[in-house]
């Protein structure tokens, strides 16, 4: 492998012995990774200015310019570089500051295998997006817009004299932007949780009102979209569709007796499958408006038009961000390939299958003419998995669920 194809990682830590240790323990990766080590933030910025990097792994507490300041600079100057924190810091104050700056956080002591795994997962994502400018936009995304009504509801509850964790959890879990953010935060190493949390309500319980309050009111991890500016986009429809697919995906996962881990993540996979749209809507207002119009007039799939315009679609963009935020591969895969499941490398029934079907079923339900039923469904993919005979059952359980819901 030549240097061009090697992944480039910059490690920053004020303790030279930590750098030496990383250098030694990651030496086995030297054929795949190009690693640089820097003992000060200033030096790191100089290195970044001179050479391109895929990822920066930085300590937080450093003399002079600390990790938070460094990552803010990196975000501003080199937004495409994925920012990871590797810190022995357990102080919440510092943690909060860095929540918005780092895509992921690992805490010291961090086993070399976990570090390798995390980095490899990120490098896997890089293949999702070809276009550097879109990568840059996604990497810079700190928050996703929430529905104004839900946003206000959360703020009101948090500012109440005796906020209820239960209620906050209920509200947040109805909003995909907030849910995505809260899961990123709770799964960052700083909260010291050993297992991954995939349920927003559980995340809220674990963080507790005080932390949520600090994160929402001071760090501002949530935001709301400006309704006046986005009259041309139906957010409610997107949110409702996301919730429906989320439930369908979970039902099918259960129906197929998937691994408990997958069942636990199925809600998230369904919920976030169209999350990329939020990024496109907010960052590419004019072209996206055109795409939406074209899709409506020409009866074409949105993702196809997106591909024509951006060379990628909301599926890959959403998946990339969720990957950056540390969601596990099955979820990221389900988001990325929910329109074209045959592109995925996995060949077993999983979250992708559940989300793909759930999405198609919800579209059918919306269509109401029923002539070309489940036209979005990739029967070839399902056939390869040998689950075509299950389609009728899935339709039944989804129909049942939708009716019960109504």
């Amino acid at each position: 492998m030549n240097d061009q194809t090697k992944r480039r990682i910059l490690f920053v830590d004020d303790e030279p012995m930590v750098l030496k240790g990383l250098q030694r323990s990651l030496r086995k990766m030297r054929t795949e990774w190009e690693m640089r080590f820097s003992s000060s933030s200033q030096e790191a910025l100089d290195i970044l200015a001179a050479e391109p990097f895929d990822v920066i792994v930085s300590d937080l507490r450093m003399p002079q310019m600390d990790g938070t300041q460094l990552l803010a600079e990196v975000k501003r100057k080199h937004p495409q570089v994925v920012r990871i924190i590797l810190s022995g810091q357990v102080e919440q104050e510092t943690t909060f500051k860095s929540v918005q700056l780092a895509h992921q956080s690992l805490s010291k002591p961090c086993d070399a295998d976990i570090l390798k795994h995390t980095l490899n997962k990120l490098f896997g994502l890089r293949n999702l997006l070809e276009d550097e400018s879109i990568k840059r936009i996604v990497s810079q995304t700190e928050t996703l817009p929430s529905l104004p009504a839900i946003y206000t509801e959360v703020i009101n509850e948090l500012q109440a004299s005796d906020p209820s964790v239960q209620k906050i959890g209920d509200i947040i879990s109805t909003d995909l932007a907030m849910t995505a953010k809260i899961l990123q935060v709770v799964n960052s190493a700083f909260f010291g949780l050993v297992r991954k949390i995939s349920n927003p309500k559980e995340a809220i319980m674990l963080l507790g009102t005080e932390t949520i309050k600090a994160l929402v009111l001071s760090v501002k991890i949530f935001s709301k979209f400006n309704q006046k500016k986005f009259t041309w986009f139906n957010f409610d429809e997107l949110f409702n569709h996301s919730m429906s697919v989320s439930m369908f995906a979970q039902t099918i996962s259960k129906e197929e007796r998937l691994d408990q881990y997958l069942i636990n993540n199925s809600l998230m996979a369904g919920m976030f499958h169209d999350l990329g749209k939020l990024i496109l809507v907010t960052n590419f207002q004019e072209p996206y408006q055109q795409i939406l119009d074209a899709a409506r007039q020409n009866k074409r799939y949105l993702w196809e038009l997106e591909n024509d315009m951006f060379g990628t679609s909301h599926a890959e963009i959403g998946a990339y961000l969720m990957g950056l935020w540390g969601l596990d591969y099955p979820v990221v895969e389900a988001i990325a390939f929910h329109h074209c499941p045959e592109k995925s490398l996995s060949n077993s029934t999983g979250l992708l299958t559940a989300v793909h079907f759930g999405d198609a079923y919800d579209r059918l339900k919306c269509d109401e003419n029923g002539a070309d039923e489940l036209k979005q469904l990739d029967r070839g993919y399902l056939d390869n998995l040998g689950v075509c005979h299950r389609i009728d059952d899935w339709q039944l359980v989804c129909k049942d669920l939708a009716e019960r819901k109504v």
Partner: protein, 574 residues
Amino acid sequence: MNKTVKNLEPVNNSQQILSTLINTIPNPAFFRNKDGVFMNCNTAFAEKILGTSCENIVGQSVFDLPDIIPQALTDICLENDKKLLNEPGIQTYEAAIACADGVQRDFLLSRSTLADHNGMVAGIISVMLDLTDNNRTEKLLQDRTAELVESSQELKRQIKRRKKAKRTVKQAHREIEHLISSLPTILIGLSRENEIIHWNAVAARVFDMSSTDVMGLSLDRCGVEWDWDKLSDGISKSQADGCIVRLDNIHYRNTDGEDRYLGLSITPFKGEDERISGLTIIGADITDRIKFEAQFHQSQKMEAIGQLAAGIAHEINTPTQFVGDNTRFLQDAFSDLLEGCNLYKESINAAKSATLNSQHIQDIEKRLEELDIAYLEEEVPLAIQQTLKGVDRITHIVQAMKIFAHPGGIEKEPVDINKEIEKTITITRNEWKYVAELKTDFDTALPAVPCHRAEFNQVILNLIVNAAHAIADAKTDNSSEKGTIAISSNRSENRVEIRISDTGAGIPEHIRHRIFDLFFTTKEPGCGTGQGLAIAHSVIVDKHGGTIDIETEENQGTTFVIRLPIDANKSVNE
């Protein structure tokens, strides 16, 4: 007979004495019976007043002598006779009487009734004082009178003052008595011989022994189960030096068998001979206070631990990271080296069996190159060295953390001040290392100092953390320069001096007097509760008899100076 004679003779004798006495008195005197008849008179009366002899008067009444006694005198005489006879006793009155030489003089008549052997009034004795004689020295008298008036007024004033003072003293006495009786403290009075002469109600309640039970007993035999050795030392010291001795934490066991503590103050008092005539022991059961203090110190300690916990975790996490990484590397390196060994072994075997050919050697060399043994040779010793360093760092901080684990006994123990400060420096490293260099200058010849170890450490900890904060606060955002915390120890005479300096912004003059106040803080809410320096003060001054002072200059920095006595029983000021 003899007896009678003996009895008679003195009577005759006394009559002689009496009549001689009467005649010798220069003042006119006379005796009249109850009927007004002159029974006796002296020469002064007969000759000076009446101008006749005694013989002419005795046996006569005033009425019988109209030529001799003027009517006016007779009237006054009879009127006063009547009064006196009605109320027997002593009578005085003044009268102007014309004397034998024709001069009228003022007389003071001093008269007394005389009882007969039956107790009945027998007559009246009168003695006359010539006031006119006194008036002759009128000039002198006037002068004297003026003086007397003056001095009598002065006397009156003094009396008034005295009375007032007496009232005040009485009032004060009452107040003191009231105060003593209402004092919530134990009060025990001891005589010079250490016998209990006072035992107030509080003492009775605390020790569950009434004053009548213990009064007069020697203090060591009063039956209280207490640390007599310590108390006795204190009493001896107070007696010997004539000074007040404070005893803290005297252990005693109450009648319920509960272990409790007293704080006592022994005060000697001197008698008029300037010798110590006794002692007063006042004090209280301070068990609850000790408990409260312990809780208070504990809570501040918890606050300090809370503040430091994150830093300590960081200090442990960092070396753990590279110890883990290096160990993983060593694991990989070992398997590579083992593979290398096997390759060599393989080639030796091949050589032995003469199957070693150039292709074989080439393959082995290629593999060995891939294994990069040269790199391992260089890095493995470094990895081992750094792993050991990391383990050492973790060990160091974990050991230093024992300062939090130490519960801190009630008694002082000899402490190596330098070593304790070193531990605290280790614990607080993460608090200062990003903002300051820390320099130490320890006097290695310091003796062990009697200390409450945990509390002493807490003080040093508070001061180091404060110093780091002061430097961080003073730092302007862009400056990358670190400040300096300097800690030194040295001995001067009978005390140890510890100086902790920072290069922070100093303490503004208007708050200097408040920095040791409890809950006084300039830090943001949530960053400090204002207990640190208050605790430092209480620990150093109250618990160790030391001093804590500040030397500060705005924009230059602050130095805290702690002085601890080397002799546990003395304070720095003694």
